[in-house]
C-alpha cells in the first residue's frame, strides 16, 4: 500500500509540474532567441547505401559535446550543434559506424548513407559504437533488427520475433513453447503490438507456437517495458513497435527459404529507380500437406497458416514519402473424422478452429523544414476468431441428420494518427500529436443448426452478444530536454479518452524519464509512467485456448490503469564491447478483470459483462540484469530477472492476494553467437524459468442424484509446475554464390530433451487414485532449413 501511495504521489506531483512546466517551456522556447542563435539545426535521414532503405534507431552522436539523438522509425533525425566543427559518430549495430567531421554554418539537412556490415571476421572487430542504446533517455527498452532475429537460435528452422523477445529481461513466456508475452507482470492484452503503426490483437500462429511476423520483412523491432514516452498509450505493460521494410529502391532482390515448418519468399525492387519501391512476402506452412500422408483417412488432423505482407514506398518529393503496407494472415486447425467402410458408425465430423488478422496502413511523412517533421498514419485492422463444428450422421439409408455450430468473435479498427517532431532549440526536442481509433467489437456469436435431411427440417439457435462501438482518442506532448550538462529528461503528458456504451472515460497520463550521466560510461535513469487502457481481454471462457474475448470499458467495467516507476543504471565497457544494465521496477495495476467463479461461460451476453467479471488490482515488482556483448566474434547476452506478480480480487480467493498466472520468480536466459569462420556461425541459447502457478482442484465430491462428480477448487494458484529449462543450438553455413548468397542452417531444439510442462492434467488409475501428468509440447527436435538471398 505504501508503494501505491508513493506512485500516486509521483503522479500528482508530475501532473502539477507538467501543468505549469510545459506551457512555460513553450513560452521560453518561443522567446529564447539567444539560445537559438547560438546553434544550428542538423536534420535529415539515415539510409542504407545499397537499398536506400531508411534506417530507424541509428545513433547520431556529437562526440565532444557528449550529446546525440537517434533516428525515428522513419529514419529521421534532428539535433542541434554549436558553431564550428563537430565530430559526429553515426552508428547502428547492423551497419559500419561512420565517423564524420561536420562544420556547420547554417541549418542543414543531410541524407546519411550507411553501409551494411559484411559478415567477416575483420569487419566484426570494429570500433564499438560510442553511443549505444544506453545513451538514450529512454530506459527499459531493447532494439532488434530483422537480421538480428534471423541470426538467433530457431525452432524448427523458424526464427521468431516474440520468442526472441521472451529471451529479454522482464519479458516472460506463458506456457512452454507458446508466444503469449507477459511483460513485467502484465497480461498479453496489455502489450501494444504495432505493425507499421497499427495495433494487432493476436500476433500468434499455430495456436501460439509462432508469431505472425515474418523476419525478412522486418526492418526494426523495438520493445519498451516501462518509462513509456507520451506518444505511446492504450496498453499498460509494453510497446512492441515493428516496422516493415520499404523495399529496395535501387535493384531487384529477394530472399527465399525452405524449412521444416514453413517456406517463404520475399521479393523487393524499384518501381521507379530511386523514386518508388515495392516489397511482397509470403510465408506458408506445409504441415497440412505433410501430415496428410501419415494419417488414416478415418481421422485426419491438420494445421495450417500463412502470412502475406505487401508494401509500396513512394518518394513524392525530397521532403515527402508515402508508404502503403498491408498484412493478411490466417490460421486454421482442422480435425476431420470419416467412418471407415468396416465401421458400423456413420458419422462424419469436421472441427475447425481459426483466426485471421488483416491490416492496411497508409503512412505519409514530411520533412516540413529544418526543425520539423510530421507523419500521418491511417489504416484499418481486422481480427476474426472462429470455432466451427459440423457433423453429419446417416440415420437410415434414406435420411440423415446434420449439425453445425459456429462461434465467432471479431474486431474492426479504423485509426487516424498524427505525429510531429520539432526541435526549436538546442536543449529541447518536442514531439506532439494525437490519434483517434474507432473500434467495433463483436465479442461472441454462436449459431447452431440441426437439419434433418429426409424431412428437410431444420432448427437453429443463435446466441449473439451485443456489439460495441468504442471511440478512443488521445493527444500528447513530449519534451526531450537537457536540464543540465549531465542531466536530460523526457517529460510528457498524454490526455486520452474514450466513448463506449454511452459511457465516457478520460485520463491525464503523466510520463517522465530522467537520465543522469554519472561518468562518460555510466548513467542512471529513473522513469514514471501512468497509462490508461480502454480495452480488456478475458481468457478461456470455459473452452479452448482460442476462446479469447476482447471487450471495451463500459458501465460497471472501468478502463484499466497502471502506474510504473523504474530506476536503472547502465554502464558501458567499450573496450570489451560490453554493456551492463540493471533495472528495478514497481508497477501497480487497477481495474483488472477476471471471470467470476459463480458465473457460467456465455452468461456474459445475458447478464451483461459487468455481472460476470470480478474487478481487482495487481502489483508487480522485480529486478532485471542484462549483460550484453556486441560487435565481437562472440556476441550475446546474459539476463537474469527476479520478479513477483500478485493479484487481488475481492470475489476471488476470499479476497486474499494470490500469484498471477505466470508469476515466475527467476528467469535466466543466456544467448550466444560465435563467428567461427567468415561463413560459419553457431548460436546457442539456454533458458531457465521457475515454475508457473497452477490452480488445481483440492477436493472432489459426488452428486448421487445426477451421477456426476464435481471438483472443489482450493486456494488460487497455490501449486507450482516444475521449473522449465532447455538448450537450443543452431549452426549456419553461408556461401557466396554467383548471384547471391545461400545459407544452410542446422538446429537442435531442446538439446538435452527436457520435458517442460505445457500443461498438467489429472489421470486416474483403476483404483480411482489421481496422479498428475504433464504434457510436454516439444522434446528434442532437430531442424534444418535452406535459404537463398539475391
Amino acid at each position: 500500500m505504501k508503494c501505491q501511495a508513493i506512485l500516486s504521489s509521483v503522479k500528482n506531483v508530475l501532473c502539477i509540474f507538467l501543468q505549469w512546466d510545459l506551457p512555460l517551456l513553450m513560452i521560453v522556447l518561443t522567446t529564447s532567441g539567444p539560445i537559438m542563435a547560438q546553434s544550428y539545426s542538423l536534420s535529415g535521414y539515415v539510409e542504407d547505401a545499397l537499398s536506400r532503405e531508411r534506417i530507424p534507431r541509428v545513433n547520431v552522436y556529437l562526440i565532444e559535446e557528449r550529446s546525440g539523438t537517434s533516428s525515428n522509425e522513419f529514419g529521421y533525425f534532428n539535433l542541434n550543434v554549436g558553431l564550428g566543427c563537430s565530430r559526429v559518430s553515426v552508428s547502428h549495430v547492423m551497419y559500419t559506424t561512420l565517423l564524420l567531421d561536420w562544420c556547420i554554418q547554417s541549418d542543414s539537412i543531410f541524407v546519411l548513407e550507411m553501409t551494411p556490415r559484411v559478415a567477416s571476421l575483420d569487419s566484426l572487430i570494429i570500433t564499438p559504437s560510442i553511443s549505444g542504446d544506453t545513451d538514450r533517455i529512454q530506459m527499459s527498452s531493447h532494439q532488434l533488427s530483422g537480421a538480428e532475429i534471423e541470426s538467433m537460435p530457431s525452432i524448427l528452422g523458424e526464427a521468431d520475433v516474440i520468442k526472441i523477445i521472451q529471451l529479454l529481461p522482464g519479458a516472460k513466456s506463458g506456457r512452454e513453447g507458446f508466444n503469449d508475452l507477459y511483460v513485467r507482470g502484465g497480461q498479453p492484452d496489455q502489450n501494444l503490438i504495432l505493425l507499421d503503426g497499427l495495433p494487432l490483437y493476436n500476433p500468434n500462429h499455430l495456436l501460439g507456437l509462432f508469431s505472425v511476423f515474418n523476419p525478412p520483412v522486418l526492418k526494426q523491432i523495438e520493445l519498451l517495458k516501462g518509462g513509456f514516452p507520451a506518444r505511446y498509450g492504450g496498453r499498460l505493460s509494453s510497446v512492441i513497435n515493428l516496422t516493415t521494410k520499404d523495399g529496395n529502391l535501387r535493384r531487384f532482390g529477394g530472399e527465399g527459404k525452405l524449412g521444416l515448418l514453413t517456406s517463404r519468399l520475399m521479393l523487393e525492387g524499384p518501381l521507379m529507380k530511386d523514386r518508388a519501391s515495392w516489397m511482397i512476402s509470403g510465408r506458408r506452412t506445409f504441415l497440412d500437406q505433410m501430415t496428410r500422408w501419415f494419417q488414416p483417412k478415418e481421422r485426419q488432423e491438420s494445421i495450417f497458416f500463412y502470412d502475406l505482407n505487401v508494401k509500396t514506398n513512394v518518394i513524392v518529393s525530397n521532403r515527402d514519402r508515402i508508404h502503403l503496407s498491408g498484412y493478411l494472415g490466417a490460421d486454421q486447425f482442422i480435425n476431420r473424422t470419416r467412418p471407415s467402410r468396416e465401421s458400423s458408425l456413420s458419422r462424419n465430423t469436421d472441427h475447425k478452429v481459426g483466426w485471421k488478422n488483416q491490416l492496411m496502413s497508409l503512412r505519409w511523412h514530411r520533412l516540413v523544414n529544418d526543425h520539423a517533421f510530421i507523419s500521418v498514419t491511417m489504416g484499418t485492422v481486422g481480427y476474426d476468431v472462429m470455432n466451427e463444428f459440423r457433423s453429419r450422421e446417416a440415420i437410415t439409408t434414406d435420411s440423415s441428420e446434420s449439425f453445425r455450430s459456429i462461434w465467432t468473435s471479431s474486431i474492426r479498427d479504423y485509426t487516424l494518427r498524427l505525429d510531429a517532431e520539432v526541435k526549436p532549440a538546442r536543449r529541447h526536442y518536442f514531439r506532439f500529436g494525437g490519434e483517434i481509433i474507432s473500434h467495433t467489437f463483436k465479442p461472441s456469436s454462436t449459431q447452431s443448426t440441426l437439419t434433418n435431411q429426409r424431412g428437410k427440417q431444420s432448427r437453429s439457435r443463435i446466441r449473439e452478444s451485443t456489439s460495441f462501438l468504442i471511440t478512443e482518442y488521445a493527444i500528447y506532448l513530449e519534451d526531450e530536454l537537457r536540464l543540465f550538462d549531465n542531466t536530460s529528461a523526457n517529460l510528457g503528458i498524454r490526455y486520452s479518452g474514450g466513448h463506449s456504451d454511452g459511457k465516457q472515460a478520460s485520463a491525464v497520463e503523466p510520463r517522465a524519464s530522467v537520465k543522469f550521466d554519472m561518468t562518460h560510461q555510466m548513467d542512471v535513469k529513473v522513469s514514471y509512467a501512468f497509462v490508461q487502457q480502454y480495452l480488456h481481454r478475458l481468457n478461456g471462457a470455459g473452452s479452448s485456448i482460442s476462446r479469447e474475448v476482447w471487450i471495451p470499458f463500459m458501465s460497471g467495467i472501468q478502463p484499466q490503469t497502471s502506474s510504473q516507476i523504474a530506476i536503472g543504471a547502465s554502464s558501458r565497457l567499450p573496450h570489451y564491447g560490453i554493456e551492463l544494465t540493471l533495472e528495478a521496477y514497481y508497477k501497480h495495476l487497477d481495474d483488472q478483470i477476471k471471470y467470476r467463479l459463480d458465473t457460467l461461460p456465455y452468461q456474459s451476453t445475458g447478464l451483461g459483462w459487468a455481472n460476470v467479471v470480478e474487478r481487482g488490482q495487481g502489483t508487480a515488482y522485480g529486478i532485471e540484469l542484462m549483460v550484453r556483448r556486441q560487435n565481437r566474434r562472440l556476441n550475446g547476452w546474459l539476463n537474469y530477472t527476479w520478479s513477483h506478480s500478485q493479484r487481488m480480487f475481492s470475489g476471488l480467493n476470499e479476497g486474499k492476494s494470490f500469484h498471477d498466472n505466470y508469476d515466475r520468480r527467476h528467469d535466466i536466459s543466456i544467448v550466444g553467437q560465435y563467428q567461427v569462420t567468415q561463413f560459419t556461425t553457431v548460436s546457442a541459447s539456454w533458458v531457465y524459468s521457475s515454475g508457473y502457478p497452477l490452480w488445481l482442484p483440492a477436493g472432489r465430491y459426488y452428486d448421487p442424484i445426477n451421477d456426476v462428480g464435481w471438483f472443489e477448487y482450493g486456494a488460487i494458484n497455490a501449486t507450482r509446475s516444475p521449473a522449465s529449462h532447455r538448450l537450443d543450438l543452431t549452426a549456419r553455413f553461408t556461401k557466396q554464390i554467383k548471384w547471391g548468397k545461400r545459407t544452410f542452417s542446422l538446429g537442435l531444439f531442446n538439446v538435452y530433451n527436457r520435458r517442460n510442462p505445457m500443461y498438467v492434467y489429472p489421470q486416474a488409475n483403476i483404483y480411482g487414485t489421481i496422479r498428475w501428468e504433464r504434457v510436454s509440447l516439444l522434446s528434442l527436435v532437430p531442424d534444418f532449413s535452406y535459404a537463398i538471398q539475391f
Binding site: 521444416l260 467470476r596 457460467l600 451476453t605
Partner: protein, 339 residues
Amino acid sequence: MRSCSILFLVTIFSLHCATPIELEFESDYVPKVTVFTEFSPDSIWSVQLIQSVAYTDSVNWEQYAIDDASVTIHSSLDIVQPMVYMSNGRYISPSGQAPFPNTRYTITVQSVDFPSVNGSSEARSFETELTEIQEISSADTTIRSFRVRLRIDDPPGQDYYSLHLDYLYRVCRGDEQQIDTTWALRETRLRSAYFDSDFAEMRESVSDVNDPSVLPVVDESNGFSHAYFNDRTFEGTSKTINLIVRLPQDQLLEPHIRVTIKNWSNELWSYQEYLELVDLYGPNYFEETPKAIYSNINGGLGVFGGKYSRHLRVDDQGESWDNEDLKVVDQFIPACNQR
C-alpha cells in the same frame, strides 16, 4: 520431402508425450459434508449425504457415505422432521412424510466428524390447466399434428418452469426382436414429443433462459423436446401457451399426451445450469478461472432444492387418462400387424 515429413513425424509424436509429474500439493484438504436433495410434494423426504474427498484420494463413493449424521428439516412453521438413516448415505422421513408446497424448508446436518451445515429451499406450487386439444391438418402424412392450449397461473415471485411433452408409444415386438415375426404389441411406453410454441420466451436449455441474447428458436419445424422459461413476462398472472405437437402417425393407435410442467426453485435451477454447462464444455486445463459449482449448503457442498410438478394427461378427444394405460397389454393388434 519424404525425409522432411519423417522428421516432422518425430515432432508430432513428441507433441503428445505425457509423463507423470510430482506436484507439491498442500495436503491439508478438509473433507466437507455434501448434501443432495431434490424434494417435491409428490414424493417423501429423502436426503443423500456423502463426504467430499481430497482430489488425489481414491474414490469409492459408497465408503464415503455419511451414516451417523443427525438430519433435521425445519419448516418456516417450526415443524421439525427428523430423518432416519437407510443405506448408502440415504436418509428418509420415517413417517413417509412429503414436503408441503409453498413452505420454505431448512435442512440441518450435524455429524461428529464435520461442522454443522445447512441450506434452505421451497417447492412453489402453481395451478395449470389444459384447456384445449385439437387435431390440425398436416402436410406431412406421416405426422399427426395437434394444437394444445394450456394455462399457467403464476404465483407471485420469481419462478422458473420447464415444459415437457410425452405421448404413449406402443412398442411392437418386431421392433426389438428382429427374429420374431409376430407383430404383437409388446409394451406401452412414454416417449418425448416434439412441439412448437407461440411463446417467444421458451428456450431449449436452462442456461439460455436468463440470457436475452439467445434468440427464439428460428425455423422451428422440428421444435422443442424440452422447453424452459421464466415468468419474466407474466409475473403473478395467468399465461396461456399454445403448443403445436407433432406425433408420428405410424406409432399411434390413439393419441395419448402427457404434459409435464415443473416449477423449479431458484436453488435447483441454478444447480441445473451447472449440470448442463459442464456437460457442454467439460474440463479445460487451459482455463484460467475454473468455475465454482453452485451450492446452497452453508459450510458444505451440494444442493438442497425443491420443485413442484404437474402432469396433465389428455387424449385426442380431450379425455383424461391415467397410468393404467401404461400397462403392457400383450395382445395382437392390427396396428402392429400393418407394419
